[in-house]
């Protein structure tokens, strides 16, 4: 039960697997208590912190939280709102009052149509999982250029790194603008060579972001990066 401690080897568990006895411990996410045992409900690594046992999933759907910066795509348009695909189990709702433009009733399609992508922020998530988005804020806009990639949501922190170190390194190497959404979508904008390299790096994070060799693999990939000014 100490697999989550620093220096200890992390233990991989599958759904239904007994992690250990409950014995006064609290059950965190990815686990449940059953017959005085803590049972994993997800494929992931056991983590024990402050007497709480949880499972950090390898793959997980994006669960929106208020304040998240996300990259969303228009799925449906109504007269006064847009339904946005936020890469999660629920669609987000962007009302025209929270769009950055003055939108007349019935004119929503003139500003954004199905398939358009935006940088948005999660304004509110209620207990029924209704998600309201906003585009009012600094940097929130419709995306007109660049390439949008997807990575597993739990690898987003890997791409950012501590204090955004990895993200800054990626930006420096490929000389591109890279915006990482909390919903696992990444916007890359720059030269075609830079975008191409950034795609490889982000794909690497998606495939092996959970592995110990990720940093070394990224360093190896850095050697194939386009030289600055090539484009």
């Amino acid at each position: 039960m100490s697999q989550g401690q620093i220096g200890a080897e992390l233990r991989l568990v599958t759904p239904g697997m007994a992690i250990g006895p409950l014995s006064g411990k609290r059950v965190g996410s990815g686990a449940l208590a059953q017959n005085e045992q803590i049972i994993a409900t997800r494929l992931g690594w056991v983590r024990e912190m402050n007497d709480t046992v949880s499972v950090d999933p390898i793959n997980a759907a994006y669960m929106p939280r208020s304040g998240d910066l996300i990259i969303a795509t228009v799925a449906e348009v109504r007269n006064n709102l847009w339904f946005m695909d936020i890469n999660g189990p629920f669609q987000g709702l962007l009302p025209m009052s929270l769009a950055p433009w003055k939108v007349e009733f019935g004119a929503a399609r003139q500003h954004m149509g199905v398939g358009d992508s935006v940088m948005a922020r999660v304004q509110e998530v209620d207990e029924c999982h209704n998600v309201v988005l906003t585009m009012k804020g600094v940097g929130l806009r419709r995306i007109n250029e660049g390439s949008i990639l997807s990575v597993p949501v739990n690898h987003v922190e890997r791409i950012r790194g501590n204090n955004n170190e990895t993200l800054l390194r990626l930006r420096e190497i490929c000389d591109c603008r890279i915006m990482v959404g909390d919903n696992g979508r990444v916007l890359v904008d720059g030269s075609p060579e830079g975008i191409s390299w950034a795609r490889s790096a982000i794909k690497l994070a998606g495939n092996s972001g959970h592995k110990q060799t990720f940093s070394a693999d990224l360093s190896a990939l850095e050697k194939s990066a386009p030289k600055r000014g090539d484009a």
């Binding site: 599958t14 759904p15 239904g16 049972i39 494929l43 793959n59 029924c128």
Partner: protein, 242 residues
Amino acid sequence: MGGYGDVKLLREDGLRLDGRKIDEMRPIEIEAGILPGADGSAWVKHGLNIAVAAVYGPMEAHPRKIQRQDRCVIDVRYNMAPFSTSDRIRPGYNRRSREISKVTSEALESVVICERYPRSKIRVEIEILSAEAGTRCVGITAASVALADAGIPMRDLLVGVASGKVEDIVVLDLDKAEDNYGQADLPVGILPNTGEIAFLQMDGDLSPDEFNLAMEYNFKAAAEIHEIMVDALKRRYEGGEN
């Protein structure tokens, strides 16, 4: 006696036609994460059966009339490829695939923690590439591994396994001849850690004693298959940290 007259399904030495003992499974192999585009996927080879399962979602449920306010729906589509058997199967949905899709969906709904994703849908596609016998069980096993691979919260892995009766003897894991000419078939979906049964069907007649023996075989086989499922999932992510 077999269901079709004089078809002999057991040898003089008590073994079955393919040389297995009566409580022996066909060899089984499982791979997780074989489809790069899917959120979760699995490949299962069980005897001559080959099944591929892909999981997409959870996602917004469409059309909205299928949404459930307190839980997600599991939309299962079971399909046998036209080339999966020696007789070509007409492509598309048929009565049998509808029935198997429905029972698989209901079995999976009992292991997936559906309350986590209200108003959503989890799409499970099961494609049978090669069919011998017991494809619904292979499909359930593949779907279960694919769901775990996709990170869907589940109470346990669901294992599909079948036993039956040939020549008045209860046998585990029927092959094609035994399935066609045997007297009974008992496919079940088992949660190995809790011992619960998520689905059970019976084709043919079994006495209570035969039923109990068949279930005993099924539970024993489920434990073996469960180990292979866990091994497949761990193998995919070995060498990892978080």
